[in-house]
């Protein structure tokens, strides 16, 4: 028995994820971060929605609420308004967070309520059978892009930065220790924080794109990401297909509910 087993709903095992799926690695990094932070299991709320990533927090033994597709951040916002003392973590996939929930993501970043959004990016809709996502790269094949993806790839980190996110970081499931540290920082940073976790989907993405070996896919992720320091040494052309990992934004904007309570002279006595 691992010391992390206490965070699992063991009666829900076996889980539904495909073999070689990278989402579990990202989820495990989050659990280790929570453990290191010593967060109270009863007052740390998991919010998730739909899709492969959206289903995973159900395996964790925290109070959890699973919403319709894309709506996790709206429900998380309400939880914080009702009880700002709670730690609220929202675990989403890329389609969930950036497509159907895209507007909520923008406004959560702008509003800056103390929430942590962890977005597992596998560049595909896995649960529904491999349709293209806003994060699918041009040219890649998907079940709804049989001729190749035409649209450009969305950079979620840039999007939330532009919207005003207080903390933005990118990690991946190869650099697992780093990913865990990024999550730890994001969870403890006050305000709206986002961690993008690059993961792999061998079943729905890899198979269609002639690279379904999980180890190869993870190696590709490793080669695609570089540190800020490495990026400084590269030319614009060399940076073309690279993604910078690490902390991308770290600000100290006023947290919404603290501001609300201050400006409105919120009456705590009768709340």
């Amino acid at each position: 028995m691992s010391k992390l087993d206490k965070y699992l709903r063991l009666d829900q095992i076996p889980h539904f994820a495909c073999s070689g799926c990278g989402h579990g690695t990202a989820l495990a990094a989050m659990v280790r971060a929570i453990d290191k932070l010593g967060l109270d299991q009863n007052t740390t709320i998991m919010v998730c929605a739909i899709g492969c990533a959206g289903r995973l927090p159900v395996y964790l033994d925290f109070p959890s609420i699973r919403t319709p597709h894309g709506r996790a951040l709206t429900v998380a916002t309400g939880i914080k308004l009702a009880n700002p003392e709670l730690k609220v973590i929202v675990f989403m996939g890329d389609g969930d967070a950036a497509a159907i929930g895209g507007n909520h993501l923008i406004h959560a970043a702008r509003r800056n309520i103390d929430l942590t959004a962890i977005i597992a990016i596998n560049e595909i809709y896995g649960m529904t059978g491999g349709q293209y996502a806003p994060t699918t790269k041009p040219g890649h094949l998907a079940s709804t892009a049989p001729f190749g993806m035409i649209e450009p790839q969305m950079d979620i980190c840039k999007l939330v930065e532009a919207a005003g996110a207080n903390f933005v970081a990118r990690g991946d499931i190869f650099h697992i220790v780093e990913l865990e540290k990024l999550m730890l920082k994001a969870i403890s940073h006050k305000g709206f924080s986002v961690v993008e976790a690059l993961t792999n989907c061998p079943t729905q993405f890899g198979r269609r794109n002639k690279n379904s070996k999980p180890s190869e896919m993870i190696k590709n992720i490793k080669e695609m990401t570089i540190t800020k320091k490495q990026a400084e040494k590269l030319s614009k052309d060399e940076l073309e297909h690279k993604l910078v990992r690490g902390i991308l934004v770290e600000k100290e904007r006023p947290e919404y509910i603290e501001e609300y309570d201050r400006i409105t002279h919120f009456n705590k006595e009768v709340s």
Partner: protein, 381 residues
């Protein structure tokens, strides 16, 4: 001491929500409901509550569901186009049995329709607007004073039965100003959801006792359970076993049936020897009552019934009236006769149902209803 005040319909709903104990309101501006969120944004902080304007109506209902899951009473206010957007999460709230209150000031539809004109076009959407089948309660106030009282009832029923409650007003009621009598806030019975959960070791969120109503402690309140819109058994985790699907759907849809007598409210005025009845609701109530008085003055006896609760529909009371009269006139501000259809369905031919439809965006007038009564009395169609 009760007090007499001049109040607008929307204002009454906001004021009553504060008395009922609303602690989170999330909304998005939309005519003709906006005064509710304007007022609550101003008043809630001093009542220990928080208002937030969200990015759209989907987010608004999402936020109040989250707030309620965390144990606080929560509401939103909207109108047709916003109510359409809320359907997804309205079904979710019903499925996961998280109490919320939605005020829908109905306006002319479809689509953008007419923001400043009344309609009663959302009766069916309220019950059937989201996919699948799930329970909700809908209340239809007919005056500002009743809007005040029913708002408190809405929160009470929502908490008691762990179900979304929709207050179905319309533009006329939203903006009319009336002198109303408000009882002392302390004189209202305020009901809060159950908190008597069994200890965590034995606790299963959707395992119900004889009441059939689940006990869902606030998220973060010490119980670790899962809330999910997926079909779930007692544990609250996804489970698609055929017997669990069957049980889940039947349980959530049956739970209000058990409490029909507590939930279903009607106003009934009986007239001895009448062969005609008028059924009206919401803001068509007052012109209907005036029309009945006009008829009585002219020697036509007319019964009256008003569903105060629209969902669940007062089938039993309407069957009773249908067994007495030959014809039931249903004046409505919609095209299809949404409530007239429900009346037909309830009484299964026991009386003739005559629909009177008005969709011009003007309120119903007493003379128009009276004219219909006289036609029926003369045996004309």
């Amino acid at each position: 001491m009760s007090k007499k005040v001049l109040m607008q319909g929307n204002q009454a709903i906001a004021e009553a929500a504060l008395v009922a104990g609303v602690k989170v309101c999330a909304g998005y501006p939309i005519t003709p409901s906006t005064e509710v969120v304007e007022l609550l944004s101003k008043k809630m902080p001093s009542y220990g509550g928080r208002f937030i304007q969200m990015e759209d109506e989907i987010a608004s209902i999402g936020a109040i569901i989250g707030a309620s899951a965390a144990g606080k009473k929560a509401m939103t206010a909207t109108s047709g186009p916003g109510f359409s957007l809320m359907q997804e999460l309205l079904g979710y709230a019903a499925m996961v049995e998280i109490p919320i209150v939605i005020y829908n000031a109905q306006r002319v539809g479809p689509s953008t329709g007419g923001a400043t004109k009344p309609q009663q076009g959302d009766i069916m959407q309220t019950k059937w607007g989201s996919h699948g089948e799930s329970p909700r309660i809908a209340l239809s106030p007919s005056s500002v004073e009743e809007a005040y009282k029913l708002t408190i009832t809405a929160f009470n029923l929502s908490e008691k039965y762990m179900v979304p409650v929709v207050i179905l007003g319309d533009e006329t009621l939203a903006h009319i100003r009336e002198s109303i009598t408000i009882p002392e806030p302390d004189s209202f019975e305020i009901i809060n959801r159950r908190t008597d959960a069994v200890p965590q070791e034995e606790y299963l969120p959707y395992k119900v006792d004889d009441t059939r109503i689940p006990v869902l402690p606030p998220l973060g309140g010490g119980y670790r359970y899962n809330i999910s819109g997926m079909i779930h058994g007692d544990k609250g985790v996804p489970n698609l076993a055929p017997d669990v699907i069957d049980y889940c759907i039947r349980r959530i849809n049956n739970k209000l049936k058990k409490y029909y007598d507590d939930i279903v409210m009607v106003e009934r005025i009986k007239e001895k020897g009448s062969r005609i009845a008028v059924l009206a609701y919401g803001s068509t109530t007052r012109p209907a009552k005036s029309a009945i008085k006009m008829a009585q003055k002219n020697g036509i006896k007319v019964d009256f019934i008003r569903p105060i609760t629209i969902w669940p529909f007062p089938e039993r009371e309407i069957r009773e009236i249908a067994s007495k009269v030959d014809k039931i006139l249903v004046p409505e501000m919609n095209f299809e006769g949404q409530v007239a259809g429900l009346v037909r369905q309830s009484i299964e031919g026991a009386a003739e149902v005559i629909q009177f439809s008005k969709v011009s965006g003007l309120p119903m007038y007493a003379e128009e209803i009276y004219h219909q009564i006289t036609k029926i009395d003369r045996g004309e169609k």
